[in-house]
Amino acid sequence: MPERSPVLAVIGAGPAGLAATLAAAGRGVRVVLVDSAAEPGGQFYRQPARGLGARRPKALHHQWRTWRRLRTGLDARLAAGQVTYLSEHHVWCVERESPGFTVHALLGPEQRESVALRADGVLLATGGYERVLPFPGWTLPGVVTAGGAQALLKGGLVLPGRTVVVAGTGPLLLPVATGLAAAGAKVAALVESADPRAFAHRARSLVGAPAKLVEGAGHAARLGWHGVPLRVRHTVLEAHGTERLESVTISALDSEGRPVPGSERRVLCDTLAVSHGLLPHTDLADGLGCGLDGVTVRVDEEQRTDVPGVWAAGEATGIGGAALSLAEGHIAGRSAAARLRGTTPDPGAWASAARTRTRLRAFFAALDGAYAPAARWVERVTDGTVVCRCEEVTAGAVRAAVGSLGAGDLRTVKLLTRAGMGWCQGRMCEPGVAGVAGCAPAPARRLLARPVPLGVLAEPADPPPPQ
């Protein structure tokens, strides 16, 4: 059999996956970059659909020069035949074979047909999705995730409504608010539950990444420029409306996280963009048997998971934003290229990326502590509030499962109430159900990373033989 280059499947074409692809390509491996979207970029660098003819897409983006570098680099490697890019491939399972792996993907957007491809190594750059904790009214049309509002703006060049309240906690809220305002929405308020003093307490770690602080200050300045009122140590108590969102009630929070009596006020809006941070996509890693630390994929200094031949980078290994994802992706790509050829990589080759990684991990650990969802949020979730959106399970039903039926863990709550059994497989409701039930969040262990037609499971596609 002729000698062939090892194949590295990179799953996800956001910052981490693109950095990994550029680092590995041309170093003796063939890279197959697999992504669910029509265009590379992931969520952070999501581009307007081609048919929209955007001549100045950078108006919607930050760190545009980095994107140009990634995109130009990808194009050059595609032209050189070092990379195969498979768009609209929704990976639903990665199987361990002996040796190597088979990657199964549904072809989008229909997702009725599945294809399989063989790889010698797999690099998971699967990114993250938003955590939203429940509150009364959060299922009304017009209540969207902050990232969702941003995705439809960046990709479809549309606004969710005319008057928007941006609320929750985390570093995403500022850019979403300024982005929506720049695109013409009236942002009636930015409601952040974090206490600014929490940042002061972590000043030592936060000054370690001055560029990030300048970026944050820039967003804050633009907020002022757009005339967006910033309400810190505030929360949305309730979203109001019958068939769709009409207003929200916001309230100040005291130092214990309780609403300050008398501080409530109604804000009229047709959109509420809400976020309580991000969660990593770990289903593929979990299915492969990679160890997790809490909700993130465990990796070593080379971004290797504890399954031989599987690397992970970016939000999947811990939420830390695009710059950290780039550093991790670069390291993972260099390591994978060397290891798949049977050589030992020289960590000196990625020393600069490793320093960036150390600095940004410390920065985001500190930030994560400061941006905590409002304490006592569970107390404000009324019994009638739907917590599992798919199965329409109320907080009252979850509390009854724990209280009168004696459920002591999330799995039992799920079996008794169906919370987490719907289409999203608990991705959206798990933090909320766990909080309301008073149970520890448990890794979900999803066998399949996305819904798969039964016909596909009955007749799995055979991978083509290695070339």
Binding site: L52, R56, Y129, G142, G148, L152, P160, E243, R427, M428
Partner: protein
């Protein structure tokens, strides 16, 4: 200001899709969710249990709240599926298989 002006977009020729029989305008490349939002529509499903209205929530294909019936096929995620000229988009009642 609007998003198209912000990025100095020169979209391809607009086309129409129908939503519950009403014609609405779409731009090439936009997802059904984007097209419906542009037309001021925020709900296109009623839930299986309580019949409550739902539309986009996560916007990136994770939550399945934005399910809609397209050309007779239910359970399409409006945030992922691009609008096609002449598509017959209908509010999905429950599972979409009851009618």
């Amino acid at each position: 200001m609007n998003p198209l002006r912000l990025v100095r977009a020169r979209p391809g020729a607009p086309f129409t899709v129908t939503f519950d029989g009403r014609e609405i305008e779409a731009l090439p490349g936009q997802t059904l969710a984007a097209v419906l939002w542009s037309a001021g529509v925020t709900a296109w499903r009623s839930t299986r249990g309580d019949g409550r209205p739902r539309g986009v929530f996560c916007g990136i294909g994770v939550c399945f709240d934005c399910l809609v019936t397209v050309d007779g096929r239910p359970n399409q995620r409006a945030c992922l599926v691009p609008a096609a000229p002449g598509a017959d988009v209908r509010t999905q009642e429950g599972t979409g298989h009851d009618a």
